[in-house]
């Protein structure tokens, strides 16, 4: 019953989306407003229906309605209330429903915001949005239907993947999908620009805030994913260059490139073709990411089950890429007559280099991700590309990018004079060198660590130089200190809020560097009462206890940690879920600004007399999360409207 109702609503929504897309396209061609209005109504209908589907599925989860196959597969009677809600999008079918719902939501916001004021581009953008939405609804009806009847109705369901029983799982997919789907809007406007031939600045201005919104959510999703990986998966890391992580990282890289290259087009009328291509690439990569996670073509810990959905996604990816690139080819002539680069030492070229590096990074990640496939296709050899490849290629790229973060915002447009360079960079460079020297004096012998220190200090100094200079200028015209600083943030939003994001990246860079260079770990087997030592900490094994939870059974170890004085007891555990073959590790940790203590329970004797334990002291990892908060805060500030009047 529930299944049939949901399936019916999905079908109607699909019909409406197809109709709306066609009507919007026809309205755009003929200029008949009635058609466009009709398309808007259809979009509203789709939104209402998808929202109802989502609500219905959630209700089925909450009431253990195992007559719906998806519910039976992803929950069981022991699943706690909270995870019955997150379980709704815990697997393939539900993730597609969430995705469609977000797309529908964005479509509604697009209608509300741009219905008036973007007359030429808006109808085509609406048609594109509805077309993409129709595809996802098609997936929901054909390839991955969340509403499918299950007969005979099982007495109990299979249960949610235990790794997804974590608070991060409510926010991580939601943020990530909001980011992924958010890039649909800039893409839709880019398509509109190509179709109408208005590839000037209008579409850029219209989509700027949208892009920042998408970028904000994508960053948030990536950061929460890292946090989840760190505190749930129990291998002590936050990033593994797993294909699916890469899938989310690639659009982030090209999206970041786009956010920067936009500024050159606005300022110098350059890079129109490049900007359009970046948007197409970014959207293409979000689809590629979805394809990767859902096709089973590349094996990964994140992978959803496979099925016909992969072929459907590949077909859609082909359609999107060929159409978009075909439109670019069609409009080729209009891309000419652009501004030219005046000097290599200029802000344009710094931005350009930033773009080249970001796209190069995206390309290497892409290459590494599909290489196993390539190798098997060409040589018939199964290989896996691991973290060493990605690190080796990307670390120099990222370090250069961080360096450019210091150069770009301060160097002059067109052609930088020696005076401009001296004025802006003398102090930061000196400070950077001093930082490297200080690091060396403190005993840092890793070249990479020293370089990272120097670069981050250099960039931080450029930000400080710029900010103090601007504040001083305001003080001279009679503003007092705090309003002057606040006013900078509010009025010149792009520049100073962008600096906040840069600051966040710097902090993250330090955290990543520290965790790579200075973390230590060991693995040892302890008898009860015995003590292990690592990096000045002592861990005493006090024993094991068994605990029965609603949907699993767990064995908890107790370890007293001290460094001279007792710091507390850490309780890592192993959880045994009846539906899983292998137990799931439950990490315990103690976070700190300088270092985290991180314990994972390995094998143990049944009588509790001994246990194997993995101990890690991870350095500076907390700064990654702090930097993440700063970064997302900066992005959030950048979304706020710019104020032109004084405060």
């Amino acid at each position: 019953m529930t299944a049939d109702l949901g399936y019916g609503m999905t079908l109607i929504a699909l019909g409406l989306a197809v109709y709306g897309g066609v009507a919007a396209g026809a309205g755009a061609r003929t200029g008949r407003l009635a058609l466009i209005e009709s398309a808007q109504h259809a979009a509203l209908g789709v939104f209402v229906l998808v929202t109802s589907c989502f609500a219905l599925l959630t209700y089925a989860f909450l009431t253990f309605d195992f007559s719906v196959r998806y519910v039976a597969t992803n929950t069981n009677l022991g699943t706690p209330f909270y995870y019955r809600i997150t379980g709704v999008w815990g697997a393939l079918e539900g993730s597609i429903i969430l995705w469609s719902w977000m797309l529908a939501l964005y479509t509604i916001i697009l209608i509300v915001r741009h219905r008036v004021g973007a007359r030429e581009l808006y109808p085509w953008a609406l048609a594109t949005m509805l077309g993409i939405l129709a595809f996802f609804l098609l997936v929901m009806t054909v390839a991955a239907p969340p509403f499918q009847r299950q007969a005979p109705v099982p007495a109990d369901g299979r249960g949610l993947n235990p790794l997804l029983e974590d608070t991060g799982m409510i926010t991580h997919p939601v943020a990530l999908y909001l980011g992924f789907t958010g890039f649909t809007v800039p893409f839709a406007f880019a398509m509109a620009a190509l179709i109408t031939g208005r590839i000037g600045d209008t579409w850029l201005v219209l989509t700027r805030r949208w892009t920042i919104v998408a970028w904000y959510f994508l960053s948030l999703g990536l950061l929460i994913g890292g946090w989840w990986s760190y505190h749930v998966l129990g291998w002590g890391g936050y990033w593994a260059w797993d294909p699916v992580e890469n899938a989310a990282f690639m659009p982030w890289l090209t999206g970041t490139a786009f956010l920067h290259s936009v500024m050159i087009q606005e300022r110098r009328r350059m890079l129109r073709l490049w900007n359009i291509s970046l948007v197409i690439l970014t959207f293409g990569l979000t689809l590629f990411g979805t394809f990767l996670t859902r096709s089973g073509v590349i094996a990964s810990v994140h992978a959803f089950t496979q099925g016909s959905i992969g072929i459907l996604f590949l077909g859609f990816l082909a359609l999107v890429l060929l159409t978009a690139l075909g439109l670019v080819a069609w409009r080729w002539e209009t891309f000419r007559s652009e501004g030219e680069l005046d000097s290599v030492v200029s802000r344009e070229s710094a931005f350009l280099l930033n773009n080249v590096l970001l796209v190069a990074a995206a390309f290497t990640v892409f290459f590494g991700t599909v290489f196993p496939l390539l190798s098997e296709a060409v040589r018939g050899v199964k290989v896996s590309v691991g973290a060493p490849f990605f690190n080796q290629v990307n670390i120099p790229l990222f370090l250069s990018l961080v360096f450019l973060m210091g150069v770009g915002p301060l160097i002059a447009w067109r052609r930088a004079s020696l005076d401009n360079l001296k004025r802006n960079f003398l102090w930061p460079v000196a400070l950077g060198i001093a930082a490297a020297a200080a690091a060396f004096a403190l005993g840092v012998r890793s070249l990479l660590a020293a370089l990272t220190c120097a670069t981050t200090v250099f960039v931080a100094a450029t930000i400080a130089v710029d900010f103090t200079r601007a504040t001083r200028a305001r003080l001279r015209v009679g503003e007092s200190l705090l309003p002057a600083m606040g006013g900078l943030m509010l009025r010149h939003n792009r520049r100073y809020r962008g600096f906040v994001v840069h600051l966040g990246i710097l902090i993250i860079a330090l955290g990543v560097m520290g965790s790579h260079a200075w973390s230590v770990q060991t693995e040892t087997t302890l008898h009860r009462g015995e003590t292990a030592e690592l990096a000045g900490y002592r861990f005493r094994f006090d024993g094991l206890t068994a605990v029965e939870e609603s949907n699993h059974f767990k064995v908890v170890g107790a370890f007293t940690v001290s460094n001279g004085r007792v710091l507390g007891v850490l309780r890592p555990a192993k959880k045994f879920y009846p539906q899983e073959q292998a137990p799931i590790a439950y990490v315990d940790y103690r976070l700190g600004l300088r270092e985290d203590l991180y314990l994972v329970l390995g094998d143990f004797a049944r009588d509790g007399s001994q246990a194997t334990i993995k101990l890690q002291v991870n350095r500076l990892v907390s700064w990654i999360w702090i930097g993440g908060v700063v970064l997302t805060l900066g992005a959030l500030l950048a979304i706020l409207p710019e104020r032109h009047k004084s405060v």
Binding site: L314, A318, L322
Partner: protein, 178 residues
Amino acid sequence: MKRLWRWLIPLAAVPVLVLLAYGFRLSPRDIPSPLVGRPAPGFALATLEGAPLELATHRGKVVVLNFWASWCYPACYEEAPVLERNWRGYRERGVVVVGVDVQDKREAALKFVGDFGLTFPVAQDLKGTVSVDYGVYGVPETFFLDRQGRIRVKHVGAVTDDVFRTTVDRLLAEAASP
């Protein structure tokens, strides 16, 4: 003729798409089992009803040995009708389907058998020793044994009609012409 080359731009996407399409031809389930080609480990268990069930009694037949559990949702639920259907279709031709219920509760297993109306013999592997002998990693896994009692094919995941028929037909054909 002028600037026809620009239409090559969309073609840039084609190699990537072809490569991804190639990915569908691969199966991550293709994990070779060292047991293939070896004699199947013998066992003597009891059925859910308590009757003895010995693998050796089926020597000379093509044996489809299916490891399953009632908690194995959805794969075991998908393949149960397939196994029953083909068991009925092939039993006259010297084929036997043997189910081995792994790490399960007896009542739940009986309900499963009743729900799907399974008529082929099902043994209960209470101690899990048989699963270990066969290197069963997860359920469902299915082993196809030839008439000489050797493991010929290991299938991971739900058995489909197609897999069942092709494999069994092949084993029947080669046994008919030794």
